[in-house]
Symmetry: C2
Subunit: 478 residues, 2 copies
């Protein structure tokens, strides 16, 4: 059984990764399609993953002094237009409301693609003195971007996210905040999602519209493509000037405050699928799995199996999200079903186990079986959940390491990708936008980020051979 | 001090209740205004109240078997049009998206005013057999209704709410669900918000667009006006027929399932303000107060006051949402400030208190002072929070009882309201829509609900004097 493919209707990853992905989101009941292109139903199992992510992130935000607020979903066109770079970046992809009931609106409203402009309008009303700073705000909402090509979680016209928006007395404080939140995202991805990420800075051409600098965490998916998993932006005082947000500083002089914003979205669910999933289905990191352990009673009709299984559920319930499946389906069907749904730990309990005061624990990511005494089952399950987390992380890191290549020329990049497939390519860069564009043009791999942890691959730009300034991570991206 | 009005800039309730309300939402920093009429910023203090409400309600929903999902915010016009009564009720007040980026959409989309149509589209895809039923879904989202007249929380163009949508095998099960959720709303209002409510059925003319029957909980505000605090709808199989949702029943025959929906919104925050507030500001029910107890150190510069206050905060922190205010402001200013913000319990701690191993606890709703030993302070604060809840509830119930009048004729109704002001009027009704409209026309009071708990005020209709069918509660509504 261990090596048999139990679920027949998921396309193999190696055969067609895109179809494998779509199969998973459907079969695992994460998403439903709707009659509006690019807008999805997030079904209970998918939404429960998001709720677990929200709960963990929200407490990380609150522990670092952030407060939740809620801005309106509509932005008047004149407000969106106030910051030049920002409107240029977003106007081409917003949805416009033009009518309320049967009346045409005097000014059309866009459905927020992001909320910098709304936060700025609010800050201009509530900030007067340095005593009013900082404001460390966040909101959990959905935003709309009218994308041409859409895929569930990865790129949808409406998606759920959180957007942090903070405003500070000094540039230094805002920069520290930008870095702090990137650090929190990285910690969250690694500790809650078992997803290794690289922290870095985006190049000028890849910055958020209106930002002075954009930082990102980049993860490598199973197929070697990169996923931007979260971003954190430093705005300087550009938005403050555009929106006339001023405060009396400590010398009682008028000054402009400095701002940041940062966000992660339901895209991370796509990241989980493509980082940990396999041909048997989803594999969920225990911290966000809606069901952490499923109990499958074997030979339910015999003796006290069901009663014992329910006792076990009771016992585990205090510290683990546990479910018992006592339906009529066969154990084999159930094994495949919960593997497909990515449940980290399965507990099998049959008459012989009960005789021996034991149960069998099987971990999803490696299908390893362990026989455990019923006296020690709570500890054992918790230990196994930790093992699943560590195992998923190690597997993902191994994939990233295996698919990370150092290259000195664009020819080398082309060759490596042709021979070994997609991945992260570490190569030096002179800093010019021309070279950045040329690399993408020639190799298909764009600059993902300038990683914080730099190494000297060579001293020449991978493209023009002039002296290099920084190492860049290049790759094809979702 | 006890009877002195400390905060000068809140309009008195008796002078101008509407202005008093607006003053509170602004001064207590619940809401900010935006450049889009009827769309508000919910500020951290207001949003924290909503988060507490969400947490309690969400766990009540999950404990009764409901799962959260998330539907898109857009409804294609053709989908909205599928159920005749529903579209007639909502089309006049929806916001229409007509463009995505620079392109005109082929079909315009409305921003959801409510999501029955989206749930129906989804149910039609996922329900095949009686084994797929029931589905007990809920979502926490914002909705948009293009209202003419708007007021923060009470009537805004965008508001936050939850909408439950369930689908069942039989009419009986759906009706039970409708009643169950009304019961949960009533329990929540009474136990978490200290707000007494009356459970009842809406008249035919006042039903939700598309419903077979609508149930509501009705609360009486301080000024004698009624607030519909939550609704629960039974749809029969009307939506299922319109959206062609069918299933194979236990006899393997095609059948139509039965549906419900139910919702409460941020409007409840308006209800809290108008139920419990007074001329000193907000008074928050402890269960949803962002700060349940504030510690105000007196003579902070003396001895170990601050150290002791911080110890007290530590002690309370495990079971109470506590804050210490050690800012430079005077104790008097702080007292007024936290009264205005409605913090249920204030703890004063000065050098003399510390000498005597005691502190002073003051409850917001009645300004009663109690001297409490520091050895017993955790218990004492919890006890006081319970007293505040009970005190707020009793006050609100007393207001409702005092303002509830039994009338036998419309002349009597007019007279009572002229002499005693607005309130709930209990009067008999023959059941005809003509009489219902005539009562509203003559007295200004509409039918609020047909309460579950009936009494026989007389045997004749208050309007036409023909034999009465039911007692109705009449009143002016927000």
């Amino acid at each position: 059984m261990d090596n048999k493919k139990m679920v027949d209707d998921i396309t193999s990853m190696d055969e067609d990764f895109a179809k494998w992905y779509t199969d998973i989101v459907k079969k695992a009941e994460l998403v439903g399609y709707t009659s509006v292109k690019g807008c999805m139903v997030i079904r209970p199992y998918g939404y429960a993953v998001w709720e677990n992510m929200q709960r963990i992130l929200d407490s990380m935000f609150k522990n670092t002094g952030h407060e939740n607020v809620c801005m309106p979903m509509f932005i008047p066109e004149s407000l969106l237009n106030k910051e030049k770079d920002h409107v240029e970046g977003f106007a081409p992809e917003v949805a416009w409301v033009t009518h309320g009931g049967s009346e045409k609106l005097e000014e059309r409203l866009c459905v927020r693609p992001t909320s910098e402009t709304l936060f700025c309008e609010h800050y201009s009303q509530i900030i007067h003195s340095y005593r009013d700073l900082p404001k460390l705000y966040n909101q959990w909402v959905s935003v709309v971007r009218w994308e041409k090509t859409t895929r569930p979680f990865l790129r949808s016209r409406e998606f759920l996210w959180q957007e942090g928006h903070t405003i500070h007395e000094t540039a230094q404080q805002a920069i520290e905040e930008t870095e702090r939140m990137l650090g929190i995202y990285a910690q969250f991805c690694e500790e809650a999602l078992a997803m290794p990420v690289i922290k870095g800075k985006k190049t000028e051409s890849d910055k958020f519209a209106g930002a002075v600098s954009t930082y990102a965490i980049e993860a490598l998916m199973h197929d070697g493509k990169a996923l931007q998993a979260g971003t954190s932006h430093y705005f300087g005082d550009g938005f403050a000037r555009a929106f006339d947000i001023t405060f009396s500083d400590r010398q009682n002089k008028k000054a402009y405050p400095h701002q940041t914003s940062w966000g992660v979205s339901t895209r991370l669910i796509g990241g989980i699928i493509m980082t940990h999933g396999d041909d048997n289905g989803l594999a969920l990191p225990p911290a966000v799995a809606p069901i952490q352990a499923v109990i499958i009673p074997i030979a339910v009709h015999k003796g006290n199996v069901l009663e014992k299984a329910r006792q076990l559920e009771q016992q585990l319930n205090a510290c683990v999200r546990v479910k018992i499946d006592d339906s009529d389906n066969t154990p084999g069907w159930k094994f495949a079903q919960y593997e497909m749904k990515g449940v980290p730990v399965r507990i099998e309990l049959g008459p012989r186990d009960i005789e021996n005061n034991q149960c069998v624990i099987v971990t999803r990511h490696n299908r390893q079986k362990t026989v455990v005494s019923l006296d020690d089952v709570v500890n054992a399950v918790q230990q196994k959940l930790k093992e699943v987390h560590d195992g998923l992380y190690a597997k993902a890191l191994e994939n990233r390491n295996r698919r990370t290549y150092d290259c000195k020329t664009t020819d080398e990049m082309i060759q490596v990708m042709a021979q070994k497939g997609d991945g992260f390519i570490r190569a030096m860069w002179c800093g010019s936008e021309e070279c950045e564009a040329a690399v993408k043009e020639k190799t298909g791999a764009g600059s993902r980020c300038i990683p914080f942890e730099q190494e000297q691959i060579s001293d020449k730009c991978v493209c023009c051979s002039k002296p290099a300034k920084t190492m860049v991570i290049w790759g094809k991206a979702y």
